[in-house]
Symmetry: C2
């Protein structure tokens, strides 16, 4: 039913640090082959297990600022003292190929994407409540006390931006949440802005029928 | 995951006469018990097999105009010489009970609903092409030649209104289309306007965490 020659859907997935959105993205990509995850550039240091060109493209602050100057980033933001950004070329190429591209980015970047790609789908992932959010951040074991409190305060601020997203998804049961996210993104293919070719075609046919 | 105490989703389903939307609605209601179909009032004469209070509430033109005057209709339109309208009370009651209410109405009525219920979901159902549309209208066998041409011309006009809907669904394979429509409506429960209680709650919790 879906017109496969059409452009892919650009989906922005944001969520509180500790919402489990990283795990959710891995599940989505594991179960469905229509998705491509955009790889961000960042100036933050790799965490244990993170690999260059897989988790992120790791850059120095100077290299990152060079990319900004050259206009090679779709969006960028500074967050807890580090730069994060989305290389533009990769996203545009994959969308043109008909792939559904996922950007896992913070709220500031999401709003920049909305301005540049009004057809983008914005999804916010949240744990069921604030206690669970704190539990997940603490259990990660990579953050000191000060950073945990920073992330909790950041979450409070972000909670005021959630309503600006197209969908709010509670990540309680991972499997259910993965299916739901897939359903939301696939439904988006049937929005009129993604059905332009079909609309033009049937209008032309109906005119000729007269 | 879904907050079941919340109000239901109001979905407007429109489509070309001959799009098969009636059959699609019956399939949707047969397979999923979260839906209630709103029953329209009309001044048109019953077709063979149509029953009062099931297919429509059949009214005389005078009775219908009385309902308009009393403000008992959510929307109404005149179409191929007959009135069609949606009794308001039933819809409001079912939404408050948390049921997802489906209105199967024409494009003019759909735009009236959008004004009164900005959160309503508007879905347009179409056959894959204009030839198939004509074939379906002709095979129905209830329309004379003049009415068939009227309906084809009407479809041409309506094709310019399709882009104003939230989703365009091609009714080619009935089973696939039923599943897709269900997915689109259920995704809508996760839009921020339907998650207000959750948003208020988690904001309050995050504030207290400080």
């Amino acid at each position: 039913m879906r017109n496969l020659s059409e452009r892919g859907i650009l989906t922005v997935v944001s969520g509180f640090s500790g919402s489990g959105k990283g795990t959710l993205m891995r599940e989505l990509l594991k179960h469905y082959d229509c998705y491509v995850l955009s790889i961000s550039a960042t100036s933050r240091k790799p965490r244990p297990g993170e690999k260059e060109g897989e988790s992120y493209f790791f850059k120095t602050r100077e290299e990152f600022e060079e990319m900004i100057r050259k206009g090679e980033l779709l969006e960028h933001a500074e967050y807890v003292g580090n730069y994060y950004g989305t290389p533009k070329k990769f996203v545009d190429e994959k969308l043109a190929e008909g792939k559904d591209v996922i950007l896992e980015i913070e709220i500031d970047g999401a709003m920049q994407i909305r301005d540049k790609y009004p057809d983008a789908l914005l999804v916010f992932v949240t744990p069921p409540d604030a206690k669970e959010l704190r539990r997940r951040i603490e259990s990660r074991g990579t953050e000191d006390k000060e950073n945990i409190e920073k992330r909790m305060r950041r979450a409070e601020m972000e909670s005021y931006g959630m309503a600006g997203y197209d969908y709010i998804v509670v990540n309680d049961d991972l499997e259910e949440c993965t299916r739901l996210l897939h359903g939301i993104i696939q439904a988006s293919h049937y929005r009129p802005e993604h059905q332009r070719e079909f609309l033009d075609q049937i209008r032309k046919e109906l005119k000729q029928e007269d």
